[in-house]
C-alpha cells in the first residue's frame, strides 16, 4: 500500500528518472556500438593487435562499476557525461568481442566465393561478412544493453540521474518504498530491453540463416 502511494505521489519524479535512465543507457550503448563495431571489423584485418586491444576492453570490464565511476570524478567531474563515458567503456567489450569473433567466424569459403565473383573488399564486408555475422554481433549488443541498464542505476552516485537517484534518496531518507520506486522500474527495464533485443535479433537475422 505504502509502495503504491509512493508510486502515485512521486509519479513525475519516477517518470523523469525513468527517462533519464533510458537516455543514459541508450546513449552509452549507441556510443559503444559506434566505436566497437568498426573497431572489431578493423581488428579482423589486423589480427596481430586484436588480442591486446580486446584485452584492454576486458580489463576495463573487470573494474567494479562503482570504482570506474569514481575514477571518472577527478577526470570529468560529476553529472551525466562522466556517467555516459564510464558506461560506454563498460559496454565496449561484448560488442567488440562479438563483432571480432562473429566476422572471423564467417565460413572462409563464403569470402572466397565473394572474392572469386569479383566483389571488392568493401562489398565482401557489407554483402557477406556483416550479414552473416549479424546474429553474433546482435547478441553482443544485447548483452551490453542489459548490463548497461543495470549499471545505469549507479549513475546517481556521481550525479548522473536515473532511477538510481530514487534509490539513493530512499536510502538516505530510510524510505523503503522510495527505494523500491527506483529498483522495480530499473529491473523491469532490464528485462524489457532483453526481450526487445531478442525480438530484434530474430527479425534482423536474414531469413536464409534460419532454415
Amino acid at each position: 500500500m505504502e509502495l503504491l502511494k509512493t508510486f502515485i505521489e512521486r509519479k513525475e519524479d519516477i517518470w523523469y528518472a525513468f527517462i533519464d535512465h533510458i537516455y543514459l543507457s541508450a546513449v552509452s550503448i549507441l556510443f559503444a556500438i559506434v566505436i566497437s563495431v568498426p573497431l572489431g571489423i578493423l581488428l579482423t584485418r589486423y589480427r596481430k593487435i586484436a588480442e591486446p586491444i580486446i584485452g584492454v576492453a576486458a580489463v576495463i570490464q573487470t573494474i567494479p562499476g562503482l570504482a570506474l565511476l569514481a575514477f571518472m570524478l577527478p577526470l570529468f567531474g560529476i553529472g551525466q557525461e562522466p556517467a555516459i563515458i564510464a558506461f560506454t567503456l563498460y559496454a565496449l567489450l561484448p560488442v567488440l568481442r562479438n563483432t571480432y569473433t562473429g566476422i572471423l567466424g564467417v565460413d572462409p569459403s563464403m569470402i572466397d566465393a565473394g572474392k572469386g565473383m569479383g566483389m571488392t573488399s568493401w562489398q565482401i564486408l557489407f554483402m557477406v561478412e556483416l550479414p552473416l555475422s549479424l546474429p553474433v554481433i546482435m547478441a553482443g549488443i544485447r548483452t551490453a544493453s542489459v548490463f548497461t541498464i543495470g549499471l545505469a542505476a549507479l549513475a546517481a552516485f556521481i550525479g548522473g540521474g536515473g532511477l538510481g537517484e530514487l534509490i539513493v534518496r530512499g536510502m538516505s531518507m530510510n524510505d523503503d518504498s522510495l527505494i523500491m520506486a527506483g529498483a522495480i522500474p530499473a529491473a523491469l527495464l532490464a528485462i524489457l530491453f532483453d526481450l526487445a533485443f531478442r525480438l530484434l535479433e530474430r527479425t534482423m537475422t536474414p531469413r536464409g540463416l534460419k532454415v
Binding site: 565460413d107 566465393a113 572469386g116 569479383g118 571488392t120 536464409g208
Partner: protein, 372 residues
C-alpha cells in the same frame, strides 16, 4: 585463349605448388585438370582469376597479360564455381544468381530475365526456386545453382574446382550430363578441376594430367587412354579404372549383425531373434567364420523338438558378398531373388557385416567418393 607460359608458384612456406607450367586452353573447349590431391590443380586454376598470383611466368587471356588487368574486373568476367558450392545462405537463389550481373550494374529487368532463363536451363522452375534460400534446396539443386550462378553474367571463361565431388553418385551423374549439354549449347571456355578420371573422360574435350606441380600429359580423353605418355599416366588411368568411383559392399553394409553359435537351442534362438527384431540369425563359429543361416520359419517349425540345436537347422548353402564387390553385384542379388539380407565375409570366410536393402539405400545416400 588462356595461355600459361613458364608459370611457377611457390607459397610463402616454400611449397612449390606449380612448376614451370606451359599450357594453353583453347576457346570453347572444356579442359579438365586432373591429378592426385595436392598436385597443384586448385593453385593453377586460381591463378587464372588472380585469386593467387604466380611467383614467376605469365598468364595471358586473348593475348593480354592478366597481371596488368584489374583483378576485380577480371573476376567479374570469369565465372567461378568453388568446391564448397559457396552459395550465400542469407540470399535467395534469385539474389545469388543475380549477384555478378548486379555487380556489373545490369538493369533489374535484365538480370531478372537472366535468372529465370538460367533456372529453366537446369530444370529448376523459377516460380518455385527463385525466392527460396539455399538451405531449402538439396545438395544437387544447390550445386546446379552454383554452376548457373557462374554463368549469370555471360562470362567467356568459367572455372570449376571439383564442383561435384561432394554429391551423391546419382546427382553427380546428372550434373555431369548437364555440363555436357550446357557446353554444347553455350560453347564457353571451361576449365574444370577433378580428381575423378571417369568424370574427366565423360565431360572433357581435353584432359591435362598433373603431378607434383607439373603438367605430365595433355590430350583428348581417347588419345590419353590409347597412348599414355608414361608410367604415371598409365597408373593414374589404370588405378582409376580398377577402382571405379562407385560404392562397394563396404560402403553399403552395416556391421552390427545378429549372430549365434551353432550350439544354441531353439528357444534361445527364438528369444534372440525377438530381441534383435530379425527373422534370421547368422551362425558363426568361435573364430567368427560364417557357417550358415538359420531362419525364423525353420526354428518355429522344429520348435517342439527340444533336442534340436541351431546346427541341425542350418542352411549352409547361402550367398555371400566380399567387401570389394560392387553395388551392381548387390543390386543383382536383390533383384534376382527374394533374399532380404546378404552376409559379407572376408577371404577367410569370417563374417564382417551384412547388406540389407535398407543398408544399401542408406549407404548409397550417404556415399560420396571420399577423396578430396
Amino acid at each position: 585463349m588462356i595461355r600459361f607460359e613458364h608459370v611457377s608458384k611457390e607459397y610463402k612456406d616454400g611449397t612449390v605448388a606449380v612448376k614451370d607450367l606451359n599450357l594453353e586452353v583453347r576457346r570453347g573447349e572444356l579442359l579438365t585438370l586432373i591429378g592426385p590431391s595436392g598436385c597443384g590443380k586448385t593453385t593453377t586454376m586460381r591463378m587464372i582469376n588472380r585469386l593467387i598470383e604466380p611467383t614467376s611466368g605469365t598468364i595471358t587471356i586473348d593475348g593480354e597479360d592478366i597481371s596488368e588487368a584489374d583483378p576485380v574486373e577480371l573476376r567479374r568476367n570469369i565465372g567461378y564455381v568453388i568446391q564448397q558450392i559457396g552459395l550465400f545462405p542469407h540470399m535467395t537463389i534469385g539474389q545469388n544468381i543475380a549477384l555478378v550481373p548486379k555487380l556489373k550494374k545490369w538493369k533489374p529487368d535484365q538480370y531478372e530475365k537472366r535468372v529465370d532463363e538460367l533456372l529453366d536451363l537446369v530444370g529448376l522452375d523459377p516460380s518455385v526456386f527463385k525466392k527460396r534460400y539455399p538451405g531449402e534446396l538439396s545438395g544437387g539443386q544447390q550445386q546446379r545453382v552454383g554452376v548457373i550462378r557462374a554463368l549469370a553474367a555471360e562470362p567467356d571463361i568459367i572455372l570449376m574446382d571439383e564442383p561435384f565431388s561432394a554429391l551423391d553418385p546419382i546427382s553427380r551423374e546428372q550434373l555431369q550430363d548437364d555440363i555436357v549439354h550446357l557446353q554444347e549449347k553455350i560453347q564457353k571456355t571451361i576449365v574444370f578441376v577433378t580428381h575423378d578420371m571417369n568424370e574427366a573422360t565423360k565431360i572433357a574435350s581435353r584432359i591435362a594430367i598433373m603431378n607434383e606441380g607439373e603438367l605430365i600429359q595433355m590430350d583428348t580423353p581417347d588419345k590419353l587412354l590409347r597412348h599414355p605418355a608414361n608410367e604415371f599416366v598409365r597408373n593414374f588411368i589404370g588405378e582409376d579404372r580398377l577402382s571405379p568411383s562407385t560404392p562397394t559392399v563396404i560402403d553399403l553394409m552395416h556391421t552390427s549383425v545378429a549372430t549365434s553359435s551353432p550350439r544354441r537351442g531353439l528357444a534361445e534362438a527364438l528369444r534372440l531373434m525377438k530381441a534383435k527384431k530379425v527373422d534370421s540369425l547368422l551362425v558363426t563359429d568361435q573364430q567368427n567364420h560364417l557357417l550358415g543361416v538359420v531362419t525364423l520359419e525353420k526354428v518355429a517349425e522344429h520348435y517342439r523338438d527340444e533336442e534340436k540345436t541351431i546346427a541341425h537347422l542350418l542352411d549352409r548353402d547361402i550367398k555371400t558378398l566380399q567387401p570389394s564387390d560392387s553395388v551392381s553385384t548387390v543390386a543383382e542379388i536383390f533383384h534376382e531373388s527374394q533374399i532380404r539380407a546378404v552376409p559379407v565375409v572376408d577371404e577367410e570366410h569370417k563374417l564382417i557385416g551384412i547388406v540389407t536393402r535398407a543398408s544399401m539405400m542408406r549407404g548409397l545416400a550417404n556415399w560420396n567418393n571420399g577423396v578430396l
